[in-house]
Symmetry: C2
Subunit: 307 residues, 2 copies
């Protein structure tokens, strides 16, 4: 076992510090109209300062503890264009490996009252902006009433977490997509689950955590859906993102999480499922409350505005 407990497994994902020591340097706040949009690490600040000094007029105002847009960057369109040119430039110059995983997906960045701009998904960790996705737990109830979960094995060619275990279906929520529509679309693309079946997916929860990788900071929120599949339906890979699917009892799901075989945030989704379906219970799991805190971290960024 690599994780000694489920608490360790959730802390392996929700690992951004809750409290900084006074001697530790915190990332720089990226703000707009008093809303915290993101947090930027020192290496990105260096690159951003260099870039900002090389273009005229400079698109950002960079202070020691604060990055904001320059005064002339005063509309949604201008902010979006500034972020696009910056990401394109860094991508061409191969400045950050994370940009090699370019997605051609635009993610919305929200302020307190409005959408501030949209930006390429692959660049979001460089600015530590809050992103939103959806994950689906597909499961089967056997004739004895016992739950088995469909678990995906990620393709070995995926740029992130290759070959690791994952939820049956997951996806980011792009600009202007509805959450339920995103789940139905991803069900088809990733697991060949037809829309008629996928539309029975039920929204059941939301989890939030703050993680980071070599690529940058990732405060993330995932809307959770459950879909009970008929015993005779088998999800099958379609778009090449998934290698294969397994139908596992929850004992094996838990064991594989402790064995660190899962993509770290997807393990949180499976743990939340096991809590809601009474497989992880407070009388048996000593860290039940602490696990719940890590599944529901209060992020200081604005939440989506849907109009």
């Amino acid at each position: 076992m690599v994780h000694s407990s489920l608490l360790e497994a959730v802390q392996f994902c929700d690992k951004y510090p809750y409290v900084f020591e006074k001697t530790e340097k915190q990332p720089v706040a990226f703000k707009h109209d008093d809303a915290l949009l993101g947090q930027i690490l020192p290496n990105v600040i260096s690159a951003l300062t260099e870039y900002n000094n090389s273009v005229s007029p400079s698109p950002f105002k960079i202070e020691p503890d604060l990055v904001t847009f320059a005064n002339w960057v005063d509309t949604f369109d201008k902010r979006t264009e500034v972020m696009k040119v910056l990401a394109d430039t860094w991508r061409e110059r191969k400045l950050f490996p994370v940009l090699e995983g370019w997605r051609n997906e635009l993610y919305p960045i929200y302020g307190h009252h409005d959408l501030v701009f949209v930006m390429e998904r692959a660049a979001t960790p460089l600015f530590g902006v809050s992103t939103f996705g959806c994950h689906l737990n597909a499961y089967v109830t056997d004739n004895e009433g016992k739950i088995h979960m469909w678990v995906a094995r990620r393709a070995k060619t995926k740029p992130t977490w290759p070959g690791m275990l994952d939820n049956c279906v997951a996806g980011g929520i792009s600009y202007q997509y509805r959450i339920k529509d995103t789940i139905v679309k991803e069900c088809d693309e990733e697991a060949s689950i037809p829309a008629e079946l996928a539309s029975k997916a039920r929204s059941t929860n939301v989890i939030s955590y703050y993680t980071f990788t070599d690529g940058g900071l990732q405060p993330e929120t995932e809307y959770i859906f459950d879909l009970e599949l008929p015993q005779d339906f088998k999800p099958t890979p379609k778009d090449g993102e998934v290698d294969c699917f397994y139908l596992w009892p929850l004992e094996k799901v838990k064991e594989s999480i402790l064995n660190q075989e899962w993509k770290s945030n997807s393990a949180l989704v499976a743990i939340d499922f096991m809590i809601r379906h009474s497989y992880i219970t407070p009388d048996e799991e000593p860290d039940y409350i602490k696990i719940s805190y890590h599944l529901h971290r209060k992020l200081e960024f604005p939440t989506p505005i849907r109009k």
Copy 2:
């Protein structure tokens, strides 16, 4: 409608400030071995100081920003005795109205590694200690698959929230009781649900929030259970705590919450149920994420240690 949104309804319960203004006076921390056990309001600090000066040896060490036990109060038994004598004294002197609701139930107060002491339930708000309870959502699925919730009307004679709506069953978790056993016991006492049926209750979640009343501060954690009842079973009052039960569609549950007809923390339990059962969804509820934050507040107090 008294609450303009579900967010307002959850904030009506989880209302202890998240951030204090620098000019605001915070309650005084009650600590043991670096663990925050509780938080004490100024009026209680005054009474505690007076009491502490009147007995010898003084059981507490009272500093401007910190209350701890005096050095001689160095065991579980001594701490429990000190708290008992104090609560009995204040009750006799009728110093705090909250003590008139005496329960004869001992609540456990945890430190980081051990149980620190146990104390009378009615006195817990005076010390702002973290308490733990369990709530049960009882529901029925009709022939069309639609969910109806059993809602309790609290007795008009209850000292707190008389005549308000409540979850079908709820109870505090006393010292040395298991959570599931507490639910089964309360199912019988409050709703005449026999153990055979009640034992089918499934643990599904935990919620946490920090509220306060005239009686004091209440950081609380509630373990949530769901129990699907047969269509032909009707819960009935037994111990006089409940006036009657209603079987309501979720539309009516939501409406009555917005109409402020519910005990404030029990509304959170019903909202969590409606989220998990896909009645409240992120595509329709604009405050979905913020509501979730308030249902899962990270409390700074130690969590239970079960041995």
